[in-house]
């Protein structure tokens, strides 16, 4: 019973605690807030890294809050996949936070900066908890915190469009969370417990009933809205493209995936009756929706004129990737989905931050404005190119590995059509990414578009961008660090 068993709860609570304390610092020394905000996140990243070796790929760490035994006490149930995702969350939030200092310093007016960091910490803490918790009601609570902070963060600048986008987000988000709550209620009424493991056991005993159908569907829809699964993605493009770039990075780099992961948890460790046509039927429906998402998102991304809008739509299509990986119901597919969460998180965050660089320096949002950007902002452009190669899935970036496993999983699952769809999706990705790259590198800029010479973003903003883009490369080449354990963990989940 080493101290490391307590790490998960620290990882979750430190950011939340920081969020509580930050305002006071804000009143005292506002300049210090950005640096202070780094502290909890850095610590939890560190803890997560320390924890990495401890959790076996085919086991889990169960931590009981306050020593209460489940099902009465609240349990934190952290398996390998969860930890993996927590690390992704920590890392990316940390980098985006580093990036935020300059960006937010310019975009957000003085009074709200502290609020920004508070909400930021709330968001990251909530995401961590959301991934780690083993209690379905806590799942709901964390989801609500997460949703709240993200609503607020989208609207943080308080201007017309952000607020409107945020409100749209609320109008779709709030009902979805109520659905989740309702589903939780049904589950409780049907089984009388809220602990996931317990639920799984009891459901296995009782066999499935219509209540379970209803609650499962409610959950899928509820999380589907948050994860922006195809028909329910309406809020995503606006919110992601309007929000401040670091926030967009978080939203489409992490939040979407975290919600998808919650669905994985629900599907694989709660509704364990995969033989039943309950899950299977839903999974097919989800698969169809995911196919639609891949194609629709890709096409829409091609049609966009606004850079961040394009990236947001590509997120829609990549959510489709993840869901296709999940619905393959094979270890390879699940691994692919997991790895795609990592890769997509890194790449999307990187892309959004690059877009942020352009906005920060020139206020350029439209793709046409980026013609010839390479001559003036080479570092940003290179990072952008690298990340978008990963989005397309060009070897040896991480995107290639994840695509490999996604397709392999679907092939093994006998879903050839889905494999083809994934390939088509990558072709669409190639189209919309390469267009931007082409504009950046091989087109001459408009007159006076880049008048002042050789001024790239400040290092404080370049460092995260480059870290992310290099990370995509790193995880592509050294995928052997994670893939085998992920395969084992996936096999264990199934």
């Amino acid at each position: 019973m080493g101290a490391w068993r307590h790490f998960p709860i620290f990882m979750i609570t430190l950011p939340l605690l920081g969020a509580v304390l930050l305002p006071f610092l804000g009143y005292a020394r506002e300049r210090w807030v950005p640096y202070a905000a780094l502290l909890p996140l850095g610590t939890s990243t560190l803890l997560g890294l320390l924890l990495m070796g401890r959790i076996p790929a085919d086991g889990f760490l169960s931590y009981h809050l306050g020593g209460w035994e489940p099902p009465f006490g609240i349990e934190i149930r952290l398996d390998y996949v969860g930890l993996f995702l927590m690390l992704v969350v920590c890392g990316i939030t940390f980098l985006a936070l580093v990036y935020s200092r300059r960006y937010i310093g310019k975009e957000v007016s003085g009074g709200q900066r502290t609020a920004y960091y508070v909400l930021y910490l709330l968001l990251s803490g909530a995401m961590l908890g959301f991934v780690a918790t083993g209690d379905i009601f806590n799942l709901f609570v964390f989801m609500e915190i997460l949703a709240l902070s993200s609503y607020a963060l989208v609207a943080i600048t308080g201007n017309r469009n952000p607020v409107r986008a945020a409100f749209k987000y609320i109008l779709m988000g709030a009902p979805s969370s109520i659905m989740v709550l309702l589903a939780v209620g049904f589950l409780y009424s049907a089984t009388g417990t809220l602990n996931m493991a317990d639920l799984a056991r009891r459901i296995a005993e009782s066999g499935y009933t219509e209540v379970l159908i209803v609650s499962y569907i409610l959950l899928v829809v509820g999380f589907g809205v948050k994860a922006a699964l195809f028909p329910l993605h309406m809020w995503l493009p606006d919110a992601h493209s309007i929000a401040p770039s670091p926030i967009s990075a978080l939203l489409s780099g992490l939040l979407v995936e975290v919600c998808a992961f919650a669905l994985v948890r629900i599907t694989f460790s709660v509704f364990t009756l995969r033989s039943s046509d309950l899950v299977m039927g839903t999974a097919d429906a989800v698969g169809v929706a995911a196919v639609a998402a891949v194609l629709y998102g890709g096409i829409m991304a091609i049609l966009q004129k606004d850079l961040k809008m394009m990236i947001a739509y590509s997120t829609v299509s990549h959510v489709g990737y993840i869901f296709l990986g999940i619905t393959a119901f094979t270890a390879e597919g699940l691994t692919g989905a997991m790895y795609h969460m990592l890769d997509h998180g890194l790449a999307k965050a990187c892309l959004f931050l690059c877009a942020g660089n352009f906005i920060y320096l020139k206020g350029y949002r439209r793709i046409e404005d980026l013609k010839g950007a390479w001559s003036q902002m080479p570092w940003t452009c290179f990072a952008f190119a690298l990340a978008s190669l990963s989005v397309i899935g060009i070897p040896p970036t991480a995107g290639f590995i994840s695509k490999w496993y996604l397709i392999l999983g679907n092939v093994k699952g006998g879903k050839w059509l889905y494999a083809v769809v994934l390939l088509a999706g990558s072709i669409l990705a190639a189209v919309y990414c390469l267009r931007v790259i082409y504009y950046m590198f091989f087109q001459a800029g408009k007159e006076g578009a880049w008048e002042e010479s050789w001024r790239d973003a400040p290092p404080a903003m370049l460092a995260p961008v480059w870290t992310l883009s290099l990370a995509t490369l790193f995880f592509g080449i050294f995928s052997s660090l994670l893939i085998p354990s992920l395969l084992k963990a996936a096999a264990y989940l199934l």
């Binding site: 709240l148 609503y151 469009n161 409107r164 945020a166 409100f167 609320i170 709550l181 209620g185 949002r365």
Partner: protein
């Protein structure tokens, strides 16, 4: 007559439908929010009624109270959390409503959304 025993479920359902209807149909965003709250309330009601026991007493383990007659405390505990969440959501949403009204001068959701799409113009750009 089980229906009479379970009328609270029915009421919860009805409330939920009413809330949903309001959210969907009403064009005034404040009324939409109200609808949201109605939905939430219905869910809370549903939860609380889960643990309800005819003639039940508060679950306080003091004195010689018969545990069998105590209502189930867990749902109530949960609902407290839920209420907090709901309140905060509503608060946030209302603050946004105020902002929206300041900037668009209307509360009609159609008029709001019919404004120029953000991705087309430099709408997101800070003025």
């Amino acid at each position: 007559m089980r229906l009479l025993h379970n009328y609270h479920y029915a009421a919860a359902m009805v409330l939920f439908c009413v809330g949903l209807y309001t959210v969907i149909v009403r064009r005034n965003i404040i009324k939409k929010l109200i609808g949201l709250n109605i939905m939430e309330t219905s869910v809370f009601f549903f939860f609380v009624s889960l643990g309800y026991l005819d003639g039940g007493i508060a679950p306080i383990h003091a004195g010689a109270a018969d545990p069998a007659r105590m209502v189930n405390p867990i749902p109530q505990a949960l609902i407290l959390t839920g209420i907090v969440v709901a309140v905060s959501v509503t608060a946030l949403a209302l603050s946004m409503v105020i902002l929206l009204y300041r900037q668009y001068g209307t509360l009609d959701v159609d008029r709001l959304m019919r404004e120029e799409e953000p991705e087309a113009a430099e709408g997101g750009k800070e003025e």
